[in-house]
Amino acid sequence: MTIIMNELIHRRRKLVSSMMTVLTTACAVVAILILLIILSYIAVRGISAINFEFLTDTPKPVGEGGGIGNAILGSAMMSLLASLIGLPIGIGAGVYLAEFGDGWYGSTVRFFADTLTGVPSIIVGIFVYALVVLPMGRQSGLAGGIALAIIMIPIIARTTEEMIRLVPQSMREGALALGAPQWRVTWNIVMPAAATGIATGAMLAIARISGETAPLLFTALNSRFYNYFYDQPMSSLTVQIYNFATGPFEIEHQMAWAATLVLVGLILIINILVRILTRKKY
């Protein structure tokens, strides 16, 4: 009797287990499938409009061709500026939160960082408009870069904190026991151990800001020209896509798809580059 019971229980357990495996596999397939569909749709719609002129030229009136060269440069310049401001501050804040942030000050910073992550990005745009654009008297690449940096900082701070907390305490103690001062432990043991994770967080933040449109509308505005300095309004891929997509002509819509493909491609390249650069050596 008990043998039969055991057999039944065993069968039931195997059945439930395989059902669960199928279910989670199906969920994973759906999640990836959606992404693949989006990517291939963008590729199909966009690829026909991409050529050398499109990648290098400035926008022209409808029907005369033109391209997104200045928008690519503008996006790159503003992302660079945002990273130069956002990465050191974000990583520094994350290190502080993980290594010393157990007191009331740490919890306050953590709370504000979390809140800031949830703030809609257009509000950051308005804030920077008041802070930078109004005093300067015009929109600029500088204002756009600052807005993007503000969006980056809390994301990077929190991912850095989490990655650093994952470094085992025993590794810190090993270094302390050799007579290493706290800052050296953080700098040459903890940070390298967490480097891959921190880089992933930074990469996600860069990918996130590359896709932002709202904060740039008020701050960097747009430009029809190549702009090599941060003091003038600056074009960006996202705002350019917005302009193309909201235009009345089919040719503009096609260019919007092409620009989207370029944006996605650039984000992919950044991802791959950072993966290679931060590959674990040891």
């Binding site: 157990d102 085992p168 305490q169 025993s170 590794m171 810190r172 103690e173 090993g174 270094a175 302390l176 026991a177 050799l178 007579g179 290493a180 001062p181 050296r184 040459n188 043991i189 390298p192 151990a193 674990k280 050596k281 040891y282």
Partner: protein, 252 residues
């Protein structure tokens, strides 16, 4: 025999919980002293008071004195970094850094700026690896990851790393508890060799190990130091009834 470390009236608390009660102990120079006792008796906590490793625990609090070479290591003007250089430590779980084998050993030398030039650094690393009986096994792959070593090799690497900064005292917190018998034997042989030059304090769960490697043994229970005696005396004719019960396996 000279005394290297003198502990007097040491009380230790984690928040409101008292972990150590009124410990008085003298650790002789260039000998091995083993700390034995059941789990949670405070022997690891006690070991960590000797290089102020408990400073990293925010809720920890200590009373009493620890003198090394007659100097109070808890005096306000004590340089903790210098203290830890003098009092090295090997942990229960081997904890190599995410660096190469060479860089693991070189780390302490570098941060303390002990080397004159590159060849001096290499010589020091080689000496430390030889002293920890690891050199022959790793000399051809010094630049590969320390994580590629076996558990026993990693632990000897951690000992090499501790030796490289030329400490006077080495604290070992159950250094062989995660190792197989052969790796354990190597570590034990190493401990016996090292005591010619170093004062060693070792926490161990393994009483045979204490009997094999140590000159003196201290028995802890529930945060109290029950008995200290030469190891031979301790294991043949313990003075205290509790010690006898513990080493004969009646509890713990």
């Amino acid at each position: 025999m000279d005394t290297k470390i003198t502990i007097s009236k040491l009380n230790f608390y984690y928040g409101k919980n008292q972990a150590l009660y009124d410990i008085n102990l003298e650790i002789p120079e260039r000998e091995v002293m083993a700390f034995i006792g059941p789990s949670g008796c405070g022997k690891s906590t006690f070991l960590r008071t000797l290089n102020r490793m408990n400073d990293t625990i925010p809720i920890a609090r200590m009373e009493g004195k620890v003198l090394i070479d007659g100097k109070d290591i808890y005096a306000p003007k004590t340089d903790v970094v210098a203290l830890r250089r003098k009092v090295g430590m090997v942990f229960q779980k081997s904890n190599p850094f995410p660096k190469s084998i060479f860089e693991n050993v070189a780390y302490g030398i570098r941060i303390n700026r002990m080397h004159q030039n590159k060849s001096d650094l290499e010589a020091r690393v080689e000496t430390a690896l030889k002293d920890s009986a690891l050199w022959d096994e790793v000399k051809d792959r010094l630049n590969t990851s320390a994580f590629g070593l076996s558990g026993g090799q990693q632990q000897r690497l951690c000992i090499a790393r501790a030796l490289a900064v030329q400490p006077e005292v080495i604290l070992m917190d159950e250094p062989a508890s995660a190792l197989d018998p052969i790796a354990t034997q190597k570590i034990e042989e190493l401990i016996v060799t090292l005591k010619k030059n170093y004062t060693i304090a070792i926490v161990t769960h393994n009483m045979q190990q204490a009997a094999r490697v140590s000159d003196q043994t201290a028995f802890f229970m529930l945060g109290k130091l029950i008995e200290v005696n030469p190891t031979q005396v301790m294991f043949t004719s313990p003075e205290d009834k509790l010690t006898e019960d513990y080493i004969t396996g009646r509890f713990g």
